[in-house]
């Protein structure tokens, strides 16, 4: 794929304006910042900022599944909410199908809301407890004037509920009468009600039973093929990401530290953080388990007080003086595989010492 990218002054990727590239990317975030100010003192001055998202650029191509991994507190959900325009970015721009939607509001934003939908982590909390499934499914159609009559909306709801593997008897029930997996199916059906192009999946399986997780993931894959959807899949579960995604972005403390094809990330991680995450995944085969699983030490630093230079240096076993001094550059190690690190570390020999 032809892509011309250059680094901007902040060291983040900026896509240059190639017509072809614009049409390939369905969703794009350019150098997005989201800082939450902490007010205090006598006059409510801003004392500090929680830098939840700190200069992130990410582009999602049509039809692909982009994975977004990171520990809790890494800002992945905040980035997702910013992309969905649920919160406004402090700085930076969001593009949908080549159109800058960062400043849109009201009716013009609503047009784009129809094309991008979201599935939330907690399916019980994301459904109105006093709304029947039928009403939850027909409401987005009403909002976007998709169904011309009540009957048509009801028929569409009946079709939808069967698409996600439930049946029409479930339409009159309330969310609390369902199991977690069924609720998530309803939430997915609701997201699909307006026939979107892009669906943001914010940890859609992490509150579910392991046995149900696989069903939901397979349902999502099947729906993607059927409706030609583009996914941004946020998760902290690396195995789930591996099962679902074409490309993966690894987030640490508000920044994407490594981004690349799923295969490249999983087989040859280039950032020490990605490597640490991958080696923390438990191996289901006991014979292949090593004596000492390398586990990342320490806690994620506070996003209020981010370390100087490379933000991973406080936990990085390879950290040098340079890491504290200089902001690491974003390097394209191989085509489409970008890493934010000073060094090109070979992890193949490091597996034990790490």
């Amino acid at each position: 794929m032809l892509s011309i990218r250059r680094l901007n002054f902040l060291g983040t990727i900026t896509d240059s304006t190639l017509g072809e590239l614009e049409s390939i990317n369905l969703v794009e975030a350019r150098n997005v910042f989201k800082w939450f100010p902490i007010k205090g003192g006598l006059f409510g001055r801003t004392i500090a900022n929680v830098r939840a998202v700190d200069g992130v650029s990410i582009s999602i191509r049509k039809g692909e599944t982009m994975g977004l991994v990171g520990e809790s507190g890494s800002g992945k959900t905040t980035l997702g909410r910013t992309i969905m325009r649920l919160i406004d970015p402090t700085k930076g721009e969001i593009f949908f199908d080549g159109v800058n939607i960062t400043r849109l509001s009201g009716r013009s934003l609503k047009r784009y809301r129809r094309r991008m939908q979201m599935v939330f982590q907690d399916p019980y909390a994301s459904l109105d407890p006093r709304q029947t499934v039928r009403s939850a499914l027909t409401e987005p159609m009403k909002i976007h004037h998709i169904a011309s009559s009540k009957k048509e909306a009801d028929e569409a709801a009946a079709k939808l509920i069967e698409t996600v593997g439930l049946n029409q008897d479930h339409l009159e029930r309330f969310p609390h009468e369902f199991s977690g997996g069924q609720r998530q199916r309803i939430a997915i059906a609701r997201a699909l009600a307006v026939n979107p192009e892009f669906v943001l999946l914010d940890e859609p399986t992490s509150s579910l039973d392991v046995s149900v997780q696989a069903q939901i993931l397979n349902l999502l894959k099947q729906l993607q093929r059927r409706f030609n959807l583009t996914y941004l899949f946020i998760s902290h579960n690396l195995s789930v990401i591996r099962h679902m995604c074409d490309r993966v972005a690894v987030m640490y403390l508000g920044r994407i530290v490594e981004i690349g094809n799923m295969k490249a990330i999983y087989e040859s991680p280039k950032h020490p953080y990605t490597f640490a995450l991958l080696s923390a995944v438990p191996n289901p085969d006991p014979t292949k388990r090593k004596e000492h699983e390398p586990v990342l030490e320490g806690e994620v630093p506070s996003p209020i007080d981010i370390p100087s230079g490379c933000r991973f240096r406080t936990r990085c076993p390879y950290n040098t003086e340079k890491c504290a001094r200089e902001f690491p550059p974003l390097v394209e190690i191989e085509p489409g595989h970008w890493v934010e690190c000073h060094y090109d570390i070979d992890f193949s020999s490091a597996r034990r010492s790490f």
Binding site: R81, M84, L86, K110, R113, R114, Q117, M118, F120, Q121, D122, A125, S126, L127, D128, P129, R130, Q131, T132, E139, P140, I143, H144, D154, A158, Q168, D169, L171, E172, R173, H176, A187, R190, A191, V194
Partner: protein, 319 residues
Amino acid sequence: MTQRVEEVPFEPRSVYRRRSGRISEIKYSLYLARKNPLVLSGSVLAIGSILIAALSGIIVDPRSWAFQYPPRYYCWNNPWINWHLQNIKPCPPGTPFYPLGADAFGRNLLNMIILGLPIDLQISFSIVISAFAIGVALGAVAAYAGGLIDEAVLRITDVFFAFPGLVLALVLVAVFGRNLTILTLAVLVVWWPLYVRLTRSQILAEKEKPYAEALKAMGAGRLRILFLHIIPNSIYPVIVQATLDIGGVILTFSSLMFLGFAPSPLTPELGKLVSDGISFVSQAPWLVIFPGLAIVLVALGFNLLGDGIRDILDPRLRR
């Protein structure tokens, strides 16, 4: 010959299911109410008092507030019997035809209590309903709009909270005159800020829940989210408070009457009855006890009902 079940069309079945779902919910609510003795007694008291108030003109001669009628009732204080009123003596509860006794003018206390009920309930309902409407409207707007509007509404309620309730009502009545409308307004002025705060807090909690954000992501407008989702989800505690307050308003209103703010001696009201009876409390204590008991029972009934409604309506306590 045999009819095939599969041919039943889709539409009627769904209608049937929906209705049966609602009926079973209501039935379940009634079952929960029956099961709880406190709720049961509360609803008996509350519904009983509403019925008595509604039918008071039929049960009792409405003229019996003003004078004793008809003459055949036996009581020394009855001017039809003891026209010169030489031998006035207390007619205690249990005197024939006077189950709760009579006052110094020979009026039947039971009749007076029954006649006093409707005005208390009417005023209580109108105050609570208006306070509820004002409170929900202002509270919802304040919570959902936030910022300056929120601050403005909160500061206004603070002003009203700063005054002791009854005193403010007394001042208003003293300034604007003594009639039932002014009295009602005076109590309302004291009462509505509570509902603003309650509704505001409920909506603030509710609007942060993920389903509100899910609706926003779906493309729903602010008004749709507020009126169709957040308010229906947060209104139940406010309804419970309103039920509880019906008793409270009756108490406050009767205290105003007791303090001597009754528009006229002919206003049939329970607090007024207590206030009149207080002058005879040493010779005829029942003149204070029974009207007071009536006030307490009505207030208690609505309070118990409110408590019960809280348990029944809250889906977390329900299942």
